[in-house]
């Protein structure tokens, strides 16, 4: 699945997006991210699945578009 990084998360990851294949839920994805980018968990990011905010755990499939978003700071 395609995972996009926004704002400070893109800076921490050093990339704008990644293809991730070995996770099947939001919780599994966060665990995977925490291992790959230990500094990311301190930021308290939100996860959107197909442009909708994911609340709690939801399962993910290969076609899903995931966005990892730090707190918004527009305006």
């Amino acid at each position: 699945m395609k995972v996009k990084f926004f704002g400070q998360l893109a800076e921490l990851a050093g990339v704008a997006s990644l293809d991730v294949s070995d996770v099947d839920s939001v919780v599994a994805l966060k665990k995977w991210l925490g291992e790959k980018y230990p500094s990311m968990s301190a930021i308290g990011y939100m996860v959107a699945v197909n442009k909708k905010m994911a609340e709690g755990d939801i399962s993910l499939s290969a076609e899903d578009h995931i966005a990892l978003m730090p707190p918004f700071s527009g305006g």
Binding site: F6, G7, A48, K51, P70, F72, S73, G74, G75
Partner: protein
């Protein structure tokens, strides 16, 4: 009558020129049902962080999601208030201090709906749109944090 509104692009590359705001006001002179306009403008402030002044803010967004969210907010606001018009413009990319980065513009027959809708839009835009500001110094940056 239910109106189906299209998803509009709210994003402008760089600062929003003051002349654009003047032109936008001028365009409403032909709508003779309008009695009041309310406008909010966000301007980039030269905050000092540990003695270093902010020189600009660089905005990025998750554009597809931001535009869908803005569309939903627009529908909510039109349903809640009797408005004749509602316009939102937000900058992307680098906006230097002193320049305008957010332009929210509402119009109605009587003043109260325009004023209340404008305030509610500003709060929702800041809280709900996936947009991020990076405060740029001469020799570095920090990520902007919005206060509630």
């Amino acid at each position: 009558m239910e109106k189906v509104r299209k998803i509009k692009n709210i994003f402008t590359q760089g600062a929003i020129p003051a002349s654009f705001i003047g032109d936008s006001i001028q365009k409403h002179a032909t709508n003779h049902k309008i009695g009041g306009h309310s406008i909010f403008l966000g301007q980039v402030r030269a905050d000092e962080i540990e003695g270093k002044p902010v020189e600009a803010i660089e905005y990025t967004t998750y554009e597809e999601m931001a535009l869908e969210k803005m569309h939903a907010i627009r529908e909510d606001i039109f349903a809640k208030y009797p408005l004749t018009c509602l316009h939102v413009h937000h900058s992307l990319g680098v906006v230097p201090v002193g320049e305008i980065c957010l332009f929210v513009f509402t119009s109605s027959a009587h003043r109260k709906p325009a004023i209340e809708a404008c305030n509610e839009l500003v709060e929702r835009i800041k809280a709900e749109l996936p947009v991020w500001g990076k405060e740029l110094f001469a020799d570095g940056h920090q990520w902007k944090v919005n206060k509630p």
